[in-house]
């Protein structure tokens, strides 16, 4: 057996995971919803398999590298957790197990460096972004960058035909820094990496919608990444640093809601308290997370659908693809539909397969590209059967998965962010 037991690891931490895992009776119900298992029929990919592995790891002598490989093959979509009859928090267990077992992972070193050394510091991220811009013609055309940013860069082994979105000429936050901001904000806007560096148009659209509602929006200039990628990869310290910075960047306006238009960001911002163990950090995180709203949530609360001023430019048939981080992590299902149904001249259709994951899953679409695309194909079948022209979603990971997937499969359908679609249909 390769690898040795991890001595840095406190035995208590695996043991405590194993005792949480004990509620799993191995009934197998999670197999029925696991997007990966449905494609491959392999037990290690299920929550049940990973939980058995956590239990076995507590008692000793397994290979760290293999455990990491198995733990990495999960979308963290939460479908297993939702269906579990015993309410076993599989999603949390897998995330925590990644934290424990990742501490000695030496593969993807650059990736890890990026997560812990660069991502938490906006200036460094900016510098890297500048470097990336300079190298772009040479580098970025060949590197799989589909669903994230540089934290998806230096991994070497993936060579694929992913389409790579070009970087924006100037980052969104850079552009906004030069403008003055309102003194009495009605909302603080969280931008997130993808919108900041690649798709600033989506941030502009979200801003326009809020301003249309008469809400004065402030964009805190010191914000950076939400930290979801670091947390999902088990880089708990990096995730904590990023969270602390974000909390500081949004401090000072205690009663003002924080709005994120990427549903993966909003989900993770809401989960900040779970990152911390000490009481004071936890309470600070709680005060922050209670202010967080997903854009769709805020727009409906603020009465946007009732204003009845949306008109589609052309007759389209669209559906909403529920990001796992919106539907499952936040329980938000009706709000985006209410918004889309308010658009006159367009037809909103459900595919009947609303619980299917797109296969993006954080960095899963980079580490397991073929499998990710296979999971995507199942989702596409449901979309084709329903005769959809445009898929609307609200998570940047899903959005880029659809962009790349439609391209890879040579499909004519389009994908758009909810904010973009609403902004385009807005009648001033």
């Amino acid at each position: 057996m390769e690898g040795k037991p991890n001595h840095n690891l406190t035995i208590e931490s695996v043991d405590s995971l194993a005792s949480e895992a004990a509620a799993c009776v191995k009934c197998g119900r999670c197999l029925s919803v696991c997007p990966i298992y449905r494609e491959t029929g392999r037990e290690p990919q299920t929550a049940r398999g990973k939980i058995a592995l956590i239990e076995a790891a507590a008692s000793g002598s397994l290979s760290e590298a293999n455990i990491n490989d198995i733990l990495s093959c999960c979308l963290l979509c939460g479908a297993c957790t939702e269906i579990c009859p015993n309410m076993v928090p599989a999603y949390e267990l897998i995330r925590k197990a990644r934290t424990i077992f990742t501490s000695r992972r030496n593969s993807a070193l650059a990736y890890k460096t990026f997560l812990s050394r660069i991502l938490p510091f906006p200036q460094r991220l900016d510098r890297l972004y500048q470097a990336g811009k300079a190298l772009e013609p040479l580098l970025l055309k060949k590197v799989p960058l589909e669903s994230g940013l540089y934290y998806r860069l230096p991994r070497g082994r993936e060579k694929s035909a992913r389409i790579i979105p070009a970087l924006a000429q100037q980052s969104f936050l850079d552009v906004r820094r030069k403008r003055s901001q309102p003194h009495h904000p009605g909302a603080l806007l969280f931008i997130g990496c993808v919108a900041n560096y690649i798709l600033p148009g989506i941030a502009e659209a979200a801003l326009a919608l809020l301003e249309h509602l008469g809400i004065p929006v402030v964009i805190p200039p010191e914000q950076s990444c939400c930290g979801l990628m670091a947390s999902g990869a088990g880089e708990i310290e990096a995730a904590r640093q990023i969270a602390r910075r974000t909390i500081d960047a949004f401090a000072g306006e205690e009663s003002v809601p924080i709005v994120a238009f990427c549903s993966s960001c909003s989900a993770h911002l809401k989960q900040y308290p779970a990152l911390f163990e000490d009481k004071s950090s936890r309470q600070k995180a709680l005060a922050f997370s209670q202010r967080v709203k997903d854009l769709s949530e805020l727009l409906v609360d603020a009465g946007l659908p009732a204003m009845k001023n949306f008109q589609a430019e052309e007759q389209v048939r669209f559906t909403f693809h529920d990001p796992c981080h919106l539907r499952r992590a936040q329980g938000i299902i009706m709000q985006p539909r209410e918004l889309l149904r308010a658009i006159r001249g367009a037809e909103f259709v459900e595919t009947g397969q609303e619980n299917l994951c797109c296969g993006s899953g954080g960095s899963f679409d980079v580490s397991h590209y073929d499998l990710s695309l296979q999971i995507f194909r199942r989702r596409v079948r449901s979309i084709e059967e329903a005769g959809i022209d445009t898929v609307v979603t609200s998570c940047m990971g899903c959005l880029m998965q659809f962009q790349d997937g439609f391209h890879a499969m040579n499909k004519q359908q389009a994908v758009k962010h909810l904010a973009e679609v609403l902004k385009q249909a807005l009648v001033e």
Binding site: C27, R29, S32, G41, P44, T46, R48, K50, D69, I70
Partner: protein
């Protein structure tokens, strides 16, 4: 493994851990896991196993309740998930051919699209495989009116433990040529052969369904009503009984809106043409009221019906909240003896002072009796075992059987002799030897007691 290709064999300890359990939640580490893609590959693996003398343990989804998929004597776990094609659905002959890795629920949905119906409905149908269903002869609530897996399998393609591929049974509605090997293999728990194709018969989809719930102030009244309904000549599609302890468990996290004083509940589903169903529901309501049911409600919409059935599905997991270990038995008694069974269960509960919780397919006499005990308390595991033994004795005295749909595997093997005579067991062992002279396929199951060794 040259037979199936490198990518279809797992040997690292970490992956093996993920094939060490099934829904019994006990762990036995196999030596390897293979994912064959054809019957020929399975045949080659079995021939190799005979030459090299290693055990082969067939596995579908690993959702069985008696340990059928556990590698109790090590060996190679052979997983059928790659054999997952629905080969054919023939709407003219009301038949279908499926491979064993097809999920029961997926198959039901496919035939439903063509106006057809495959009734066997184990509660694991969303994830259990048809191969596993056939090997264990799975049942479900529909058993009452429509029978179990066995009643729908007309033929099989099977790889024998010695590596030959045979086809059993017929693709017609009738057939009497030779011994009925199909029925022998269905329910043989993966000990006589590995199923590689299943020929099933289908029936037309019922026009409509209707669900009602009735609450009773005593378990006696409720269980007598079950007998009354059966005696009245009405065969509901499902007829499920839920006892007071189950209701209490479910209601801790799901509002049930049942009146106070509810001691037992019947959940009933009828199907067929709406006019007949109307008459039948009226008659059933009358029978319930005769036994002093104080609350009867019909679901008005599919959504309401679904909510009612969710109560039933929530029971088994809800029992986990008691934080006790559960021994889940699936005994059957003749339907007229259900009231006697409940009477005896009360006596057993009093005698041993352990919670015994019952619910299930009362309509066909099949009840899930759960003996709950605290593993950490001295003497309780032994006490629970005595409860199980006494339960089985009672069941056999009442003319019943110790397992209706889960099988024997390892969990009930120690009790086999309570129901079968030595002569009968010896005959079964001779059959096993005739199929599998080297004891390659799923060894140690059914006849050999409950193994203790785990890792």
């Amino acid at each position: 493994m040259k037979i199936v290709g490198k990518e279809n064999v797992l040997t690292d300890s970490e992956s093996l851990v993920c094939y060490s359990y099934d829904a019994v939640n006990r762990k036995f580490l196999p030596d390897a896991v293979v994912f064959p893609g054809t019957a020929q590959e399975i045949a080659e693996i079995l021939r190799l196993a005979n030459r090299m003398q290693f055990a082969v343990i067939p596995r579908g989804a690993g959702s069985g309740f008696t340990g059928g998929a556990l590698a109790i004597l090590s060996g190679v776990v052979l997983v059928t998930t790659r054999l997952n094609r629905i080969v054919e659905i023939d709407a003219d002959n009301l038949t279908a051919i499926v491979e064993p890795g097809v999920l029961c629920g997926d198959f039901q949905n496919e035939v439903k699209k063509r106006g057809l119906f495959y009734p066997p409905d184990p509660s694991s149908l969303a994830f259990s495989s048809l191969g596993g269903n056939a090997a264990e002869n799975a049942g479900g609530p529909h058993g009452l009116k429509y029978g179990v897996t066995r009643d729908y399998v007309t033929g099989l393609e099977v790889v024998l433990p010695t590596g030959e591929i045979i086809t059993t049974g017929v693709r017609t509605m009738k057939g009497v040529v030779g011994y009925d090997i199909t029925r022998l293999i269905v329910g043989s728990e993966g000990t006589l052969g590995i199923i590689t194709k299943i020929y099933v018969r289908l029936i037309p989809k019922p026009e409509a369904t209707r669900t009602l719930i009735a609450a009773f102030s005593s378990i006696e009244a409720c269980s007598h009503t079950v007998s009354d309904i059966i005696r009245s000549g009405i065969i509901p599609a499902k007829l499920e009984l839920i006892d007071q302890a189950s209701i209490r468990c479910v209601s801790t996290y799901r509002p049930l809106n049942l009146p106070a004083g509810t001691e037992a509940v019947l959940l009933i589903e009828l199907d067929g043409d709406p006019l007949t169903m109307k008459k039948q529901t009226d008659r059933i309501e009358e029978l319930c009221r005769n036994r002093e049911a104080f609350y009867i409600k019909q679901a008005q919409t599919d959504q309401e019906a679904e909510t009612l059935w969710q109560i039933r599905q929530a029971i088994s997991p809800a029992l986990m909240q008691l934080k006790l270990t559960k021994i889940n038995e699936d005994i059957v008694v003749p339907r007229s003896r259900i009231p006697d069974l409940f009477h005896r269960l009360e006596q057993i509960k009093k005698k041993f002072q352990l919670p015994v919780i019952s619910f299930g397919h009362a309509g066909d006499g099949n009840l899930h009796v759960n003996v709950m005990y605290d593993k950490s308390r001295k003497g309780e595991p032994e006490k629970a075992e005595r409860v199980v033994k006494e339960l089985f004795q009672t069941v056999i005295e009442l003319g019943g059987t110790i397992s209706g749909e889960h099988g024997i595997g390892i969990t009930k093997a120690a009790y086999l002799g309570m129901e079968l005579t030595d002569t009968e067991i010896a005959l079964m062992k001779r059959i096993k030897r005739a199929f599998d002279p080297n004891d390659i396929l799923n060894p140690g199951k059914i006849f050999y007691g409950n193994p203790a060794e785990e890792y």
